[in-house]
Structure formats: C-alpha cells, structure tokens
Amino acid sequence: MDFRWEIISEYLPFFMRGLGYTILASLIGFIVGALIGLVIGMGKSLSNPILRLPFIWYVNIFRGTPLLVQIFLIHFAVMPIFIKPPEPLISLIVALALNSAAYIAEIFRAGINSIDKGQREAAYSLGMNHAQVLRHVVLPQAFKRMIPPLGNEFIVLVKDSSLGAVIAAPELFYWGRVAVGAYSRVWEPYLAVAVLYFVVCLVLSYVQSFLERKYATDDQRKKPKKVVRRSRGTAGH
C-alpha cells in the first residue's frame, strides 16, 4: 500500500488549527465545567433533601445520557433559542462544560468526603470557621486526591471533543473528515488525526503525574523542609 504523505502535509495547517480548537474547546469546557461542578458538588452535599434534589438529578441526567445526544440537543434545540444560527464551536463548548460538570461534581464531592472527620474537628477545635477549615485544612488535602480523577476527566474531554465534528465544529477530527472527503483516502488523514490526539493526551498524562508528585507533600518522597534555624557550628561549604 502506498502512503501518500503529501495529503498530510497539505492538510497539516488545517489539522493544527483544528487541534487548536480542540484544545480550546476542551480547556474552556473543563474550566467552566469545574466551576459548575463545584456548585453542583456542594449542592449535592446540602443537608436539606429537597434542595439537594435538583443537583442530584443534574448529575443523573448528564451522566445517564450519551454525550453525542446532548451535543445534538444543545446545538439544534437549545442554542437556537440564544444564537441564530447556532455556532457549532460554542455549542460544543457548552455541551462539554455541562457534561463534564456532572463528572467533576462527583470528583469534588468524593475528594472532600474522603478527608477524615478528625481533620475538620481538630481545625474547628482550634477556633477556625467553616471557610478557614475548608481553605487551610480540607481543600489542600482533598485537592491532592482530586488530581488523578481530574486529569482523567480532562483527557476524556479532549477525546470526546471529537464528537464536535458531527455538528461541524472546526476541531481536529472535523478537519480529518474534510481531508478524507477531499481525497477519498482514509488512512492518511485519520491516522494523522489519531497521532495528534495521542500526543496531546500523552503530554497531559505526564502533566498529571508531575502535579501528583508536586503536591505529594505528606509523603516520604519529599525531603523534610529546612528547619527554621540552623544550629550554630553547622559546617558550611
């Protein structure tokens, strides 16, 4: 089989632009999703069962239906209410944000719940208020545990953003399909697209493990911090 490299080189600028939109859509989707997810995660932890209900069902609905269906509903049914005609890239970002919010809400909730009750009690007993306990004691520990699942969620989101191609959002896979259409060749464009997704996801998984190591403060891998005062007579260099 001959492999026509010139198809890839001709379409590379489009692929790169598509990749840019892929990263942009995933990143904005993830950040907005994290903000919504934080609210939903806290909402799901409310003590009042009636107030808690809408948050629980938000998660149920967005986790219980396919992302592709959500993208179609948002692009063809919801977005036309606001933008005419609907802009595919915006529809994609909205769908990714709303969908990832459901998963991120669960990550936040599980992370915060995983911190031992004694940590909170000790902090309260020292006179801290709710916000101080959360900020100085619970969240720093919970965040560390949230890094791996959040990293997974972001990687999933990058790959799922390829579903945007079906509503013609100009992301990476969309340009792959355009190249396939133009040349009636499947191997070259799809392989090139797959390699680009792979490289991005590989880089992201390394970023994830770097962050994990960086925040692994309470573990033996990290050297003790320098003691504040050096005792007199310690030999210098």
Binding site: S125, L126, Q141, K225, V227
Partner: protein, 240 residues
C-alpha cells in the same frame, strides 16, 4: 469556669448523655473515667460543641454555648482540645501545624507565631522535629505536637479525649509527662482517660461516668480507695 447543667445528648434514638451536671473551677484538673460507652468522650466533645448539644446548658466562662447564636469559633479559641487520633494536618510540617491557627484565627504575625511555636516545641521536647511532616513521627511524638498545637492558641482550658489510648505502651509515659507538667503550671484540664495512675497522681477530682450519668465524683484518693457507689466499685475492681 465551666458549668454544665442538665446536659443531654442523643444520636437519633440513642441517648448517650442523660443528665450531666458539673462545675469545673479554674486551675482544676478533672479526670473522667468510666466503661466504654458510658458517654465520657461525648461529654468532653460537648464542652467545645464539636458535638451538637441536644439539651441543657454548657457555660464556658459564662457563655452558654448550647445557644445556636453564640459565636462558637470565638469560644473555641479559649478551649484547646487533644484527640485520641492526634488529627495533625498531614500536609503541613510540625511547625506549620502549630502556627496555622494562631496566624489564621488570631491573626498573629508569622514571626511571632513561629517564635511561640518553637518555644512550645522545646517545651514538649521536639524542637528538632520542627521541619518534618507528621508522618515521620511516632505516636507519642504526634500527640506531643498536638498538645503544642492546642497550647499555641493560649487556651484557658484544655480538653483531652483519651490522649494515650491510641499509643503503644512505651509511648504513654512521654505524653503523660507533658500533661503532668501542664497541670503543674496551673492549666485547667479535663481529661478522659483509662490511665488510673495519672488520675490518682495528677487529678484534683475524678468523675466516674456510666450510662450517660456522672455516677460519682470525688477526690482521687477517695474514689480509688473508698468508692461509694456499687458501679464505681465494680468498674474499679476490673481496671485496677
């Protein structure tokens, strides 16, 4: 300094504290003993409202903390607590553990907090551990850091909830030694413990709890040598 009136605490249908009444004076060391399930831990946890109060009143220096509108965080700055499971913050070094609350709650400058924290570490004999994370400490060392952490808020009273129960036997002594020193300095202390030797030696008064009530209270020599209640006798015959 602490006054408890008709204190009740239930978890759902389970009544853990039925009717607790006690007065604790300044500089007094009160030791609470009793069988497991008698409500002693719940009782001490109600004194800083780490446990919600179901009924009755708890006055800390005149402030009734059973009232919802009381600023409980403010009251807690004066009431130090030491837990069975230490509860040190694993993401902070020993020094940071001690400095955190004075800086965040009392708004001390870092330099002042550090100075105070180091002097407390010296007092509990752990100055050389200032820069390490709690994970690398032994149980006895962790508990001594926890005591220093509570003391750094300069509390008026210290609550100890079974401070030596999670320790290996050879580490109990070093923690009790620190507590003894604290008692000698005149700290008001309420100590839930199974260490009868400590109760006898350091306690000014012993409360014996059973079934959600204070069954008997007396000076240590009286309660250990001459208990009046049958339940106290039965309990002491098992533990002594």
């Amino acid at each position: 300094m602490i006054s408890v009136k008709n204190l009740k605490k239930s978890f759902g249908d389970l009544e853990v504290l039925r009717d607790i009444n006690v007065e604790i004076e300044e500089k007094e060391v009160v030791v609470v003993i009793g069988p497991s399930g008698s409500g002693k831990s719940t009782f001490i946890r109600c004194l800083n409202r780490i446990e919600d109060i179901t009924g009755g009143h708890v006055y800390i220096e005149g402030t009734d903390i059973s009232q919802r509108k009381v600023n409980i965080n403010k009251v807690r700055t004066d009431v130090g607590m030491v837990f069975q499971q230490f509860n040190l913050f694993p993401h902070k070094t020993v020094l940071e553990n001690i400095m955190l609350s004075p800086m965040v709650v009392r708004k001390w400058k870092k330099k002042d907090a550090e100075e105070k924290a180091l002097s407390l570490l010296r007092k509990v004999g752990l100055e050389d551990k200032a820069g390490v994370y709690p994970e690398s400490l032994s149980g006895g060392q962790k508990q001594r850091v926890a005591i220093a952490r509570a003391l750094c808020m300069e509390p008026k009273v210290m609550l100890f909830d079974e401070p030596t129960s999670a320790l290996d036997p050879e580490m109990v002594g070093e923690v009790l030694e620190v507590m003894k020193q604290l008692a000698n300095e005149g700290m008001t202390m309420i100590v839930v413990t199974h260490e009868m030797g400590f109760a006898r030696e350091v306690g000014d008064r012993v409360l014996f709890m059973d079934g959600g009530y204070i069954v008997e209270e007396a000076k240590p020599e009286e309660i250990f040598n001459n208990p009046k209640e049958e339940r106290t006798k039965a309990f002491l015959s098992k533990v002594l």
